[in-house]
Amino acid sequence: MAHEAIHTDANDPQNVTNPEHAQHHIVTPLQYTYVFATLLFFTGVTVAAAYVDLKWANPVIALAIACFKAVIVILFFMHVAYQSRLIKMTIGAGFFLFLVLVTMTMTDYISRSWGLW
């Protein structure tokens, strides 16, 4: 373990020793419990919100809560908050690509059945 200290940005500016220099981080059970409680709380909120008539806002709120829950699962249960920039960038690029594909396909459908929307 003596050479562990060199695997940091500060001591290895050229990225020679360990190109990934991922600092290993263990998320504690207490943090997991906070995330768990938050997820359960927002599940309750989203069910309650579905029974209130908010017109166009109903699906928006439901999806916003789903996205929020997904983000905290990804950041903490899946440890992305503590991963290297390489992995963060890759995941971000993946989600961005998904949005691009949805937008382009939707653009095609909308423009083909003009007036049906």
């Binding site: 360990n18 995330v35 109903n58 249960f77």
Partner: protein
């Protein structure tokens, strides 16, 4: 010019004599460090999960499109799903994910007993989820709401006869409820298939964890399986509001 191939590799020449080749599963010989191996493993797992996002994403897109095209059919059909069962299943699946997360922690801090218990609890909650899902599928079977030749639109054409407070649909719009149920079964079915695969893997991981494979510093299989399990969790976090919740108020 010396090529890199001809240059003696320092690991093989200089270090070999003093470097006892201890084979650790968390540090195989083609990785420089344990962190590098862990990073490569996580990276690969995430690439796989991104392909899974595209796979489920296609179905989510189909849902988005047809929900816009056949909104009345989707609203009425969606209201036939049980929100309490869906909400309970959401809580059950979140609990399963929580146990999995604690399991990853237990493997990191090398607590074999806690890890085994958490993997068993993860499996247990996963099986409860599938049981509730099976009950919901069975109800749809009895109501003839499974798309195909035995599909019945009568509940949507004449809701009053079934005591359902919905506007009746025209026969051709009522046929479009089949598209909702097709997507419902396709999406929740693929989600359930992922869970079944996960539970099979959990049995194998529990057995290996019990043997002590993951409580001596080798965490990667538990960690990467955890990523898969949480991904399946996230799919449901979107399926639940989209299929069960967002059409609750079509009548106002």
């Amino acid at each position: 010019m010396d090529s890199t191939l001809a240059t003696p590799h320092p690991h093989e020449t200089v270090l070999h004599a003093e470097h006892e080749h201890v084979v650790l599963p968390q540090h195989r010989h083609h990785f420089e460090t344990e962190e590098q191996q862990r990073e490569a493993g996580s990276f690969g797992m995430w690439l796989f999960l991104l392909t899974e996002i595209m796979f489920f994403g296609g179905m989510f897109f189909a849902y988005l499109l047809y929900r816009n095209w056949y909104y009345p059919a989707f609203a009425v059909a969606s209201n036939q799903l049980s929100v309490p069962l869906g909400a309970v299943n959401t809580a059950v699946l979140i609990s399963s994910g929580f146990c999995m997360a604690i399991g990853v922690w237990a493997a990191e801090v090398r607590k074999r007993g806690v890890l085994v218990v958490m993997l068993i609890l993860t499996t247990f909650f996963g099986l409860i989820f599938l049981g509730v899902k099976a009950d919901e599928y069975h109800e749809k079977y009895e109501l003839h709401h499974i798309p195909g030749s035995s599909f019945s639109t009568s509940m949507f054409v004449n809701p009053a006869a079934y005591g359902i407070k919905e506007e009746p649909l025209s026969p051709d719009m009522a046929q479009k409820t089949q598209i909702f149920f097709f997507l419902y079964f396709a999406m929740t079915g693929m989600h359930a298939l992922h869970m079944i695969i996960g539970i099979v893997l959990l049995f194998w991981l529990t057995w290996r964890a019990h043997r002590g494979d993951f409580s001596a510093g080798y965490v990667a299989p538990i960690e990467n399986f955890g990523l898969y399990w949480h991904f399946v969790d996230i799919v449901w976090l979107f399926l639940f509001p989209l299929l069960y919740l967002i059409n609750r108020h079509p009548l106002h």
